[in-house]
């Protein structure tokens, strides 16, 4: 896959370096392990998560609930509970700095300015007692020395850029006056108003209707293409990933189990879990037929199986799978954590679609 064209990168308002050199990742996560302290002792929720994201690239993170997608996203911005309640090890290299080692004061300059984030439920992410314009303005004034009037103008521009009609009027409205889709647009406006290099979107369309979801996915893809903003799209919806992302990262039980180009993984997944997720989608099955499901469920962090974590649920498990599985590089920026990946020919989305 070619690197994102550097020409798409805009010159940012404060003259900060706009783009990383081609080929160098914008974000590189190395061996990210997250542990939480609980009443029953420390539990490890992610295990040596490693991945890279290039400038302008859109990467989807998929997996069932409890796979560690959300905590991974939160940890990149230092939004997990403070130590000793959580312990994060590894490196999060962003624009040449390790965010995990950054003092809180400097982290605040990154958060919202270099990396933006949007969440699933826009109603709980917006403050009900401030207008939309005030909330966008708050972000702008936290990062730039601008007056109230300019902040308001920029807020109106931001609302217009996410497709909110009558932005100068909406700017003075409160969250409850907006519909769900409009609130999510407002959230995106807040996240993008400082022109971050990376946007982390955690299930941004899950609470929305399918027609509004289509609008939001479309908007995120277009904004990313226009501004060169990279997107880390956390979702359980493989359809959304197929439409919005060039690469997809499958997580299972706190580990990356597959990482590859979306089109390649959808067509020929190398990990049985990626294949299982695709096969259980009703749309890809024969009508009224029995759906192939993945038996069992994600193990809790406290009772993680040793060796391959997916083996207890895997139809392809064999002797040897009880050994620790490494995430191996199979070329063409494709990695998989399965000892049997070379011998298995797993069904993806295409075989199913053709068969029906």
């Amino acid at each position: 896959m070619p690197a994102a064209p550097a020409t798409s990168a805009p010159v940012s308002r404060d003259g900060a370096p706009a783009v990383a050199a081609a080929g160098t990742p914008l974000l590189e996560v190395r061996d990210l392990s997250i542990r939480f302290r609980t009443g029953a002792g420390e539990v490890q929720v992610t295990d040596s998560v490693s991945f890279a994201l290039r400038a302008g690239e859109r990467v989807g993170v998929v997996g069932e609930s409890g796979c560690g997608k959300t905590v991974t996203g939160l940890s990149l911005l230092g939004l997990l509970p403070k130590p000793p309640r959580s312990r994060v090890t590894g490196q999060v290299l962003f624009e040449g700095r390790d965010l995990l080692a950054l003092p809180e004061r400097e982290m605040r300059d990154v958060r919202g300015r270099r990396i933006g984030m949007i969440f699933q439920e826009p109603m709980s992410a917006l403050d009900p007692v401030f207008t939309i314009g005030q909330q966008i303005g708050e972000t702008i004034r936290a990062h730039f020395k601008v007056g109230a009037r300019e902040a308001r103008e920029r807020a109106i521009d931001a609302l217009a850029s996410v497709g909110i009609p009558l932005p100068d009027r909406r700017c003075d409205e409160y969250p409850h006056q907006l519909s769900g889709g409009m609130r999510q647009r407002a959230m995106i406006a807040i996240a993008l108003v400082c022109e971050p290099k990376l946007l982390i979107a955690d299930e941004p369309t899950t609470a929305l209707d399918v027609t509004v979801q289509a609008q939001i996915v479309d908007l995120l893809r277009k904004l990313s293409e226009r501004t060169g903003t990279s997107l880390l799209f956390i979702t359980h919806d493989l359809g959304v990933v197929a439409e919005a992302c060039e690469r997809m990262l499958t997580m299972y039980a706190g580990q990356v189990v597959e990482d590859g180009a979306t089109d390649v993984v959808l067509e020929r997944p190398l990990h049985p879990y990626s294949s299982g997720l695709l096969r259980s989608i009703p749309r890809l099955s024969q009508r009224k037929s029995s759906l192939p499901s993945i038996r069992g469920r994600v193990p809790s962090p406290a009772e993680m199986p040793s060796g391959c974590r997916f083996a207890p649920r895997c139809g392809h498990a064999r002797p040897g799978c009880e050994a620790e599985q490494a995430l191996v590089d199979v070329g063409a920026r494709h990695r998989v954590r399965c000892a049997r990946h070379a011998e298995l020919a797993l069904p993806g989305a295409v075989a199913q679609a053709v068969a029906t």
Partner: protein, 337 residues
């Protein structure tokens, strides 16, 4: 909409017959009326799965509640196997409604956190009060086993179960009454895709085993077209289209159905996706003052003066395919969405 109900696959007395059903709510403020369901007519034949799709605010949940007499319609008629449940006395209704059950979306909210699973599952039988206690326990345990839970789950509390297991409990609870109809309102929406597949398979097994009839209400097009025999597409309190599931998924006729189907994100590689998405502008209007004429016209790219002037008739365009659209023939011939 005409009062002629759409015929089901079987011509004898349908299990559910709805004619020009309306559910209007008075809101607290002023004299506004929310027309949640505003004139729908259909039959559900015994043994079939009738899917209802629509966005939030389309009235599909209100329709589901009316079907099992949780909400009293403000107009039109509802018949359960030929009888009007609202004409029954309270005593008779209590007995009759056991055959017409509903399962909701949120498996947590539907269970009392202080009751064991066994008590929750047995509760409908306790309320019915017809059977002796040991028989009620036996039936409840049988249902718990049937939905794929272990016997030791019976003594646990809801917080000790996963979301998928809790939804199984809710299914077991409806099963104890041996219903004929189950209204399933977004029953898999809160579940992960692999768990969702398990639950959908369970519904299919139960249907075969007990001859159940389902009304499956969902916003998920993949789910509805997988499970349903027929699908109704609802928008702002009315049906826009009704027909066999396969025909609707393969060749939707109403512009709203077309847009809805094209909005669904498809998990296929880019080369195999037909990128012919119809992005609907805006969102569903308020059910307090729906647009004149065709309710969908404000978001429809085929709309013209005729659509604002007159409510489109509910017409049988092809055998067993009903559509409410003035221009459906022209749009279908044009092939464009």
């Amino acid at each position: 909409m005409s009062a002629v109900p759409a015929p089901g696959p079987r011509a004898d007395v349908p299990l559910v017959r709805v004619a020009d059903l309306k559910v209007h709510f008075r809101t607290g403020r002023g004299h506004e009326t929310v027309k949640a369901v505003d004139g729908v007519s259909f039959d559900v034949a015994a043994g079939e799965t009738f899917g209802v799709i629509g966005e939030s605010g389309s009235g599909k949940s209100t329709l589901g509640r009316a079907l099992v007499c949780l909400t009293r319609p403000t107009g039109g008629t509802l018949r359960h196997a030929g009888t009007d449940p609202f004409a029954l006395s309270a005593r008779e209704l209590k007995r009759a409604r056991r055959e017409f059950q509903i399962i909701f979306q949120d498996p947590n909210a539907a269970l009392d956190p202080r009751m064991t699973i066994l008590r929750s599952v047995r509760e409908p039988l306790d309320i019915l009060g017809e059977l002796a206690a040991p028989e009620r326990d036996r039936r409840a345990l049988e249902a718990i086993d049937r939905v794929g839970l272990r016997a030791d789950h019976a003594q646990r509390y809801p917080h000790e179960l996963s979301g998928g297991q809790k939804q199984r409990v809710n299914i077991a609870r409806a099963l104890t009454l041996r219903p004929r109809l189950m209204v399933c309102d977004e029953v898999v929406a809160a579940l992960d895709v692999s768990i969702q597949a398990d639950i959908l398979n369970l519904f299919a097994d139960l249907q075969r085993e007990f001859g159940l009839t389902y009304v499956f209400i969902t916003h998920d097009l993949g789910v509805v077209s997988h499970v349903s025999d027929r699908i109704a597409v609802m928008y702002l309190g009315r049906f826009m289209e009704l027909g066999p599931a396969q025909a609707i998924s393969e060749r939707p006729l109403h512009p709203y159905t077309r847009a809805l189907l094209s909005s669904e994100p498809v998990p296929l590689p880019s080369a195999l996706r037909t990128d012919r998405r119809i992005i609907l502008e805006g969102e569903i209007p308020s059910p307090v003052s729906p647009p004149s004429g065709c309710r969908f016209r404000t978001r429809c790219r085929h709309a013209d003066e005729a659509c604002a002037a007159g409510v489109p008739a509910w017409r049988e365009i092809e055998p067993s395919r009903f559509v409410a659209c003035h221009h459906v023939e022209r749009i279908d011939a044009g092939g464009g969405g």
